[in-house]
Amino acid sequence: MVGYIIQRFIAMLLTLVAVSVVAFAIIQLPPGDYLTSYIAALSSTGDQVDPRVIENLRIQYGLGEPFYVQYWKWITGILQGNFGHSFEWKRPVSELIWGRLGNSVMLEGLAVIVMWLIAVPIGIYAAVRKYSLGDYLATVVGFIGLAVPNFFFALIVMYLAFIWFGTTLGGLFSPEFENARWSLARIWDFLTHAWIPVLVLATAGTAELIRILRANLLDELKKPYVTTARAKGLTEFRTIMKYPVRLALNPLISTIGWLLPALVSGSVIVSVVMNLPTAGPMLLRSLTTQDMYLAGAIILLLSVLTVVGTLISDILLAWIDPRIRYGGK
């Protein structure tokens, strides 16, 4: 088990190095740099900046240097905890992103939990009572959830809340708690605001999970060991929960690593629509203004989360499934 974890860990580190190069290359890909997008924004309001001033800024920002020099400066800075400066906000990147990443992880973590809480029981029910009314209902609702884009669902919820209750949904906190320190009152305020985006974010994933779990479980239920268990006189509940469900969860656990990045990228539009201060809108804006160190830091951290998530799911799989644990031998 330890050897397996060490092996996975080394693989993770190598992946991270590769990811950092790709992340940096991606943010350099679009034509121009922060200053060209800055000039574009200025000139659209009829403003012009002297080319000498721009040349000066380019030197001050170190934008004219070759790719490998910029990358080396960036990556060595990060190893010392310095993610560089945001051009747009003239602040260290590390000052800007933690709060938002925290909101993202919190919101999307809750969404994952809600997703599992809804999807696992429904998925099991749908498989065990195949082609029952409940199964069809779960299928229909599931497909609707899968087909309706999250942001559109968010818009509908917001509109209905306005029409029926006269309230404006949006944001994660009430104005008085926006800049307050964490306290019980603030957590309660967060929960009263967060449940709607959490539900919205969870819908599509829930539907997908129900389908996967149902299909896996159906495969398992037909296997001889289930019949054996029944023949030995185990209760129906124990028969199903102890063996087939445990195996059917395998694919769910192996995708934990992808959940977080999928939720972050999927939540960009929902965050914009519902006005949630998560990492998504900041990533979007930093990409459009070509604020490269800010964008690079967010992309890198998301990649780190993905890779760490994959490591966690690898370990969990090894833990619940002895075949993987002993597979190396």
Binding site: G46, R52, N56, Q60, E88, T168, E178, N179, P281, R285
Partner: protein, 642 residues
């Protein structure tokens, strides 16, 4: 109380704003009445934290007249679209400079400067500042601050660009005493007062010497070390962070930066701000007609969205916005807002856009491909395209019938309105279009019914557009694509990002770009479509470089007619009197009419503002413009809640 009716009347020149000038600007000199101040300031004065009102107000405060004398208090709620929306702040708070425009955007009136004089040849402008005006921290505002701003803007290490460091006509400053100074230009600058009264004027009053000089090595030998200690790689970056120019976003992230605005920052605009709030400036230097210190409204509350306006739209519908036009007043939202008026306690005001046209199709007259250049420069080709567009169909489908067929020309509200210029070639007539195409040498068509150019290739125009800026552009262009396709010209839509849109311009290989018709009212200051004036004259980018000399390496000598226009416009700049400028500019427009350089679609329809019913003195009608920043130019300092 004098009543300033701000009604609309249809005069000879079309729709025209009429009404009494609401700002009685030139006050008889004399001691201020110092009648009243906000109750929240009374306590501060009593406790000694703040000097009494008489000491805070200037000798001769600026008096702002309004429909009614108001009462103090309240918070004006509005919304910003994302963190980069410094435009809302500029247009709401930051428009205070030496001079300003009256509400009709017609004449220049005093502001921080109580009077001025221009020399005959328009090279020397002498100003007299109001005596005793103070920055928001209580420091006197004097010519030293003006001199410091000029020095900073002209320092190449300070990243800002404006008329102050315009290398084509640099300004030099001559300080006479604490309150009197002169701007001296190398060549005549007849439109200087208009520049100064518009949004560009705020550059010169944006930097306080006492605060900002501490970041510059000339004034503080430790500036570089202090910058490093604060985490900046150079003093210049630290200076730009603490004292950003004019309306740069980062400027509003520093609550310590003193200003001369009516409200000062309480919650700054940072990358993670969900709200930017402002509180009254206790040293504000304006009063109402009875001598009460302005502003009436205590605080501003700007909610910051994450880059979308959906929540803001709902908030406005729900009566949670007190006054706003920006972002939410779209054509599609109008029925929604109209229906919600009674239930949510707001009403709609009228907003007249400054832009003339919903869409300007700019063919690249300086195309590097000689065949395309020759074709695009052919006036008959452009007339043919114009006649092949069924504008009424576009207006009906995209704008629910609002607007009228229009070329790129001064709006009916403008002094320069010319019906012929606005309406020529706007009728939909495929036969006439075919005649003009034939006159442009297009006769042969290929199997798809598309004309063949002189090199045998089909005539295909790739149109660059940024749909993120105005979603209706795509709808309009898709209709035009069908209409022009039927007439024998293929249109390809190229929806691109803003940066690429700008990067393509100097390269000279784009076919056409699309933008809105800026310069509908401010034609004189923003003539980008009337002749090759600036980088925004995309249709003749290389000719514009020849005119303003910013990129000499790609400049091309313009056609004779364009050179004539440039010559005339230089005379406009040099002319001392408004009448002479108008006369010369009309000659520029006459050439525009003759040459027909760009193609317009329809008159930009009027927009609307959301006004809460209990907000008084707010304008029922106003312009929407950048050079004339609304609503700040409509004196929100005298708005109040009932």
């Amino acid at each position: 109380m004098k009543h300033s009716s701000f009604g609309l009347s249809r005069g000879q020149g079309g729709l025209r704003l009429a009404g009494a000038v609401a700002v009685a600007a030139l006050m008889a000199a004399g001691q201020a009445l110092a009648a009243g101040q906000a109750p929240m300031l009374d306590a501060l004065v009593e406790s000694g934290e703040l000097p009494p009102l008489e000491e805070r107000l200037p000798v001769n405060p600026m008096v702002v007249e309004a429909d009614a004398i108001g009462t103090y208090g309240g918070t004006w709620r509005m919304g910003m679209n994302g963190g980069g929306d410094n435009g809302l702040i500029v247009k709401t708070v930051a428009y205070d400079s030496l001079v300003r425009y009256d509400h009709e955007w017609k004449s220049v009136v005093p502001n921080l400067a109580e009077s001025w004089e221009a020399s005959e040849d328009a090279t020397e402008y002498t100003f007299k500042l109001r005596e005793g005006v103070k920055w928001s921290d209580g420091t006197p505002f004097t010519t030293a601050d003006i001199a410091f701003a000029v020095e900073m803007y002209q320092d190449p290490d300070y990243a800002a660009g404006s008329w102050i460091d315009n290398k084509n006509n640099p300004v030099t400053l001559e300080v006479i005493d604490d309150y009197n100074f002169k701007f001296i230009f190398g060549t005549p600058n007849g439109m200087f007062m208009e520049t100064l009264a518009g949004v560009d004027g705020i550059h010169i009053t944006s930097l306080q010497k006492q605060y900002c000089s501490q970041f510059h090595p000339t004034y503080n030998e430790n500036a570089a070390a202090e910058a490093e200690a604060a985490g900046f790689s150079s003093w210049a970056l630290y200076l730009q962070d603490r004292c950003a120019w004019g309306w740069e976003t980062i400027r509003f992230a520093n609550p310590d930066l003193p200003s001369i605005y009516a409200w000062v920052i309480e919650t700054p605009l940072t990358a993670n701000a969900q709200r930017v709030t402002w509180k009254r400036n206790p040293y504000y230097w304006k009063t109402d007609a009875e001598g009460n210190q302005l502003p009436y409204i205590d605080a501003l509350d700007m909610r910051v969205s994450q880059g979308g306006v959906e929540e803001l739209t709902l908030a406005a519908l729900n009566g949670e916005i007190d006054f706003q036009e920006r972002h939410i007043a779209t054509t599609t939202n109008k029925p929604l807002f109209f229906d919600g008026q009674e239930a949510s306690g707001y009403h709609l005001g009228e907003v007249i856009p400054s832009a003339s046209n919903t869409l300007v199709l700019q063919l690249n007259l300086n195309h590097l491909d000689p065949v395309k250049r020759e074709l695009y420069q052919n006036k008959d080709f452009r007339i043919g395209i114009s006649h092949a567009i069924d504008r009424q169909e576009i207006i009906d489908v995209v704008f629910t019938g609002q607007g009228e067929p229009f070329q790129v020309a001064p709006r009916p509200e403008s002094n320069f309105y010319d019906e012929e210029l606005a309406k020529q070639y706007t009728e939909f007539d495929p036969d006439l279009a075919a005649e003009h195409f034939a006159a442009a040498g297009l006769t042969e068509k290929n199997g798809d019914g598309i004309y063949l150019a002189s090199d045998g290739n089909p005539v295909k125009i790739t149109v660059d557009v940024i749909s993120a800026l105005r979603p209706e552009w795509i709808d309009m262009l898709e209709i035009m694509q069908l209409q022009l396709g039927a007439a024998g010209v293929e249109i390809e839509l190229n929806n691109i990002d803003r940066t690429l849109f700008y990067e393509k311009r100097p390269a000279g290989e784009f076919d056409a770009q699309v933008w809105a018709g800026d310069g509908g009212i401010e034609a004189l200051q923003e003539p980008r479509y009337y002749f090759p004036f600036s980088d925004e004259s995309v249709w003749a980018y290389r000719w514009a470089q020849w005119f303003n000399g910013t990129r000499p390496e790609i400049a091309e000598e313009p056609a004779d007619w364009a050179k004539k226009q440039m010559d005339l416009y230089n005379q406009v700049r040099a002319a001392g009197s408004p009448e002479a400028r108008a006369d010369l500019f009309n000659q520029v427009l006459a050439i525009t009419k003759e040459e027909f350089p760009v193609i317009g679609v329809s008159l930009m329809p009027n927009s609307y503002s959301i006004i809460r019913d209990n907000l008084k003195n707010a304008p029922a009608t106003m312009f929407n413009a950048w050079l004339f920043p609304t609503p700040a130019s409509m004196d929100p300092t005298v708005w109040y809640f009932e």
